[in-house]
Amino acid sequence: MAETTTGFRIASGERRQLGALARLGKWLASERVFRLIPFVLVEGLFIVTILIPFLLTIWISLLKWRANRPFETAVFSGLDNYVGVLENDQFWSSIGRTFYFAGVAVALELLIGFFLAMMVTNCTRSKKLYTTIFLVPMMIVPIVVGYNFSMIYIDSGPLNQLLSPFLERFGIDPRIRWLSHPVAAQWAIIIADVWQWTSLTFLIFLSGFASLPKQLINAARVMGASPSQIFWRVQLPLLKPAIAIAVVIRSMEALKMFDPVVLLTFGGPGTSTQTVAYFLWEQVWQFNKFSFGAAASILLLILFSFLIFAGIFTIIKQRNAVAGGH
C-alpha cells in the first residue's frame, strides 16, 4: 500500500486505473484529438440515427417478411421486393398522382404566397398584423386542419353553401362531393395543402422582399423606371434565389404529402387521392408488408435524391447569378 499526497491510501490497482484515466484525459485534451471530438460525436450520431437504420432498411428490403409473422421467420429473397414494387401499378399511379398534387399545390402556393408577400411589403399600416394572420395556418397542427376541412367539405357544408349561388347560376349542382368524387377529392386535398402551406412561401418571399437592396430600387426610381419596370427588371431577378428556395423546400415537402390524404379521404374514393407516402404507409402499417415497404422507400429515395440534387443545383446557380450580377 502506498500513501498519496492527500494522505489517503489507495491500492496499486486503483492507482494504475487513475493513471490510465489521467493519460486518457491528457490525450483527449491534446490539440490533435480535441478538435476532432465534435466531429466524432456528430459522426456517431449520424451512424446511430441515420446509417444503421438505413442499412437495416436495405437489409429488410432484401428479405421476404410481413410483420404478421415473427421477424425470425424472415428469409432472404434477393431483389424480389424491388421487382414487386416496380411491377405494382398502384406504386406508379401514386407517384404520378403525387407529382400532380405537388405540382399544382406548389404552383398555387408560390403564386399566392408571392402576391401576399408583395402586398404586405408595400403595406403602410398594420404590417405586423397581416404578417401574423398569414402565418397562422402553418402553425396549426395538421390534424386540426384536416378535421376543419372535413367539416368544410361536407356536401351540405359551408363551402358548398358559399359556392351555391354561383354554381346554380350556371346550372351546376351546388352539392359538390368534395370528399367522395374522384376529381373533387383531389382538389379538396390540394386546397387544404395550399391553405396550410402558402404561409411558408409567404414567409420566404417576405424575407426576400425585406432583403432587397433599397439603393438599387431607389436608383431605378430616380432614373425614371416605372413601378412595373422596377418589379420585372430589378426586384424579380433579385428574388430568384428566394423563389428557388421556396420551390425546392415546398416541392420536397409536397412530394411527401400524407396528412391531408389520411385525414380527409384515406386515399379514396378508390385510389384517386392515394399519394406515394400514403401508399407506403398503407403497405407497411395497414398490411404489415415491411419488406415490400422498405424496397419501395429505397426506390423512392433514389428517385427523390435526383430531384433534390437538381433543386440544390438550381439554388446554387441562382445565388451565383445574383452574386455575379452585383
Binding site: 404478421n68 374522384p182 374514393p269
Partner: protein
C-alpha cells in the same frame, strides 16, 4: 330540467356501479376471475400489481368505471392507453416487433386478431379458459366463434356490432304510404325481408325539400337509405349482399362468379338512394344525418338507434324501428347475414409480465354480469349481443325493448368478416374496387376480376397452405355461418 335529468342519470349510474360487487358475487364467472386474480397475486407475491391496456379511445369515458371497480375488488391497478381504433392494429404489430412488454391487454376489433396471432404478439387463452371457465352461453354462434383463430381462443368479445336495419316508424306506419305502397307493389309495407325489398322501399321513400307526400311536409330532402360506403367501411357491409362465402374451400375467390358480380352491382346501385356524398361519410356524418330525419332507413351498427333516441338534436325520438337485416333468396330460401362489422374484443399480450392476470381481468369484464353492465353503460359503445341482455332492465331502458329484442334475434344471423391473416389487405382491395364501381370508373365485372387477382396475390404472398388451413377451420367451426 336538464340539470335535474343529469343528476338523475348520474345517480342511476352511481347506483349501477355500486350494485356491481353484489352482482359479481352472484355471477360465478366474475367471482372466479376475482378469486383467481387474488390467488395469482398471492402466489406471485406481487406487491403493486398493475395492468396496462391499449384501449380504443371510443371507450375512454366508460372503461375506467370498470377498471376502478376491478381495482377495488382485486387491488390491481390499471393504466389505460387510449388510441384511435384505426391506429391500434399498427400499434399491436409494432409490439410484435419491438417486444417492449408495456401492454398486457389489447382492445380492438376481432379482425386485428389474425395478424396479431400470426406475429405471435397475442397468446391463446385456452388453458386459462379450461382453468377458470368463462361463460359463452347465450352468445350466438357467429359472434362466439369469432373469438377463435386457428381453433384457439385468442380474443374475448363483449360487443355485438352486427349490422341491422333502422327504419322510420312514422313513415313505415303512415296509412297513406302503406296504401300507396300496397297499390304499387301489391305488398304490405313492413320491415323488408330481402335486400331487393329494401331497395324498393328506399326508392319509394324519397321526397324533395318542400314537397308534401303521404300527408307529411318535408322541410328537407328525404333519402330512401343510408349505409356505409366509404373506404374502410364498404367491406363491412358488402357481405350482406354476397350470397355465400367469399372463397371456396381452396381459397379461390368467388367474387368474380355471377353471384359475386351481382353483389357488386347491387351494392353499387344502393348509393342511388343515399345522399350524394355518402362515399365520404363515416359514423360522425351518418348518425347525425339519421337523427336529423332526412333518411327513411339506415343499415348500420345497432347503436344508431340509441343515437336517434338520445341525441338532443334528434327529431326522430320514438320514431325508429329496428329491423332484422334483410336477406337474400338462395334456392328459394331466405338467408340473412348480419355482418359483424366492428365489435370489440380483448386479447392478452404475449409480452405481458402477468398474462394470466390480464386474462382474469378479461374474463371478469366479459362475464355475463359485468358484460351486461358495460352494455348498459350510458357512455359506452358496447351493443347488446347475448341472451341475458334481454332481461337486463338497464339495457332495456337504454336501448328500448324493441331494439334489444331485434338485435338479439338478429345476432342469430351475425357472421364474421374475414378472420384470416392479411384480412385488412383483402378488405382494402375490395373497398377500392367497390369505390371504382360506385363512381362508375369500372364495371362490376372488371372489379370482380381485379378483386380476384388482388386477393389471390395476398393469399400467395402470405402462403396458400396456411390460408387454406385457417379458412377451412373457420368455416367448419361456423364463424361465417355459411358452409362450403
Amino acid at each position: 330540467m336538464i340539470r335535474a335529468l343529469s343528476l338523475l342519470a348520474g345517480l342511476s349510474l352511481a347506483a349501477v356501479i355500486a350494485a356491481a360487487p353484489a352482482q359479481a358475487q352472484q355471477d360465478p364467472v366474475a367471482q372466479r376471475a376475482v378469486e383467481g386474480a387474488k390467488a395469482y397475486i398471492k402466489d406471485k407475491n406481487l406487491t403493486n400489481p398493475k395492468l396496462t391496456i391499449l384501449l380504443s379511445s371510443l371507450y375512454n369515458n366508460s372503461f375506467p368505471d370498470f377498471t376502478r371497480k376491478w381495482e377495488e375488488l382485486t387491488g390491481v391497478k390499471f393504466e389505460i392507453v387510449p388510441l384511435g381504433y384505426t391506429d391500434i392494429p399498427a400499434k399491436v404489430m409494432q409490439e410484435g416487433v419491438s417486444k417492449t412488454g408495456v401492454y398486457d391487454i389489447f382492445n380492438d376489433f376481432p379482425y386485428t386478431m389474425p395478424d396479431a396471432a400470426g406475429a405471435k404478439v397475442i397468446l391463446p387463452m385456452d388453458d386459462w379458459v379450461a382453468k377458470y371457465k368463462p361463460d359463452f352461453s347465450g352468445i350466438a354462434d357467429g359472434l362466439k366463434f369469432q373469438q377463435y383463430y386457428d381453433g384457439k381462443i385468442m380474443n374475448m368479445v363483449n360487443d355485438g356490432d352486427h349490422l341491422l336495419l333502422a327504419v322510420r316508424k312514422d313513415l313505415l306506419e303512415n296509412a297513406q304510404a302503406q296504401a300507396e305502397y300496397k297499390q304499387k307493389f301489391n305488398k304490405d309495407l313492413a320491415c323488408p325481408d330481402t335486400m331487393q325489398e329494401w331497395k324498393r322501399q328506399a326508392e319509394f321513400f324519397k321526397a324533395k325539400a318542400g314537397e308534401t307526400r303521404w300527408g307529411v311536409k318535408f322541410e328537407k330532402d328525404l333519402y330512401g337509405a343510408l349505409g356505409y360506403r366509404s373506404i374502410n367501411f364498404s367491406y363491412r357491409h358488402f357481405p350482406a349482399y354476397m350470397k355465400g362465402l367469399p372463397f371456396d374451400k381452396d381459397m379461390k375467390p368467388r367474387i368474380a362468379t355471377p353471384n359475386g358480380i351481382q353483389a357488386i352491382k347491387d351494392f353499387a346501385a344502393s348509393v342511388d338512394d343515399m345522399p350524394k356524398d355518402i362515399q365520404g361519410w363515416g359514423t360522425p356524418q351518418i348518425y347525425p344525418f339519421w337523427a336529423s330525419g332526412q333518411a327513411y332507413s339506415a343499415m348500420s351498427f345497432p347503436s344508431i338507434i340509441g343515437f336517434g333516441s338520445s341525441n338532443p338534436q334528434s327529431v326522430i325520438k320514438g320514431q325508429q324501428i329496428a329491423c332484422l337485416i334483410p336477406g337474400q333468396t338462395i334456392d328459394g330460401q331466405l338467408v340473412r347475414r348480419a355482418p359483424q362489422a366492428a365489435g370489440t374484443g380483448y386479447m392478452v399480450s404475449a409480452y405481458s409480465k402477468n398474462p394470466e392476470l390480464a386474462y382474469l381481468f378479461i374474463q371478469w369484464f366479459t362475464s355475463p354480469s359485468i358484460g351486461d353492465e358495460a352494455v348498459a353503460h350510458s357512455k359506452g359503445f358496447w351493443d347488446p349481443f347475448r341472451q341475458s341482455n334481454l332481461t337486463d332492465k338497464a339495457i332495456l331502458d337504454r336501448f328500448g325493448e324493441q331494439m334489444v329484442k331485434t338485435t338479439i334475434e338478429n345476432s342469430k344471423y351475425a357472421a364474421s368478416l374475414l378472420l384470416i391473416e392479411g384480412n385488412y389487405e383483402y378488405f382494402n382491395i375490395l373497398d377500392k374496387n367497390l369505390a371504382d364501381v360506385m363512381n362508375k370508373n369500372i364495371s362490376a365485372e372488371e372489379a370482380g376480376k381485379r378483386i380476384e387477382a388482388g386477393w389471390n396475390k395476398v393469399t400467395n404472398d402470405i402462403g396458400l397452405a396456411n390460408q387454406q388451413r385457417v379458412w377451412r377451420k373457420g368455416v367448419e367451426q361456423g364463424i361465417y355461418l355459411d358452409k362450403f
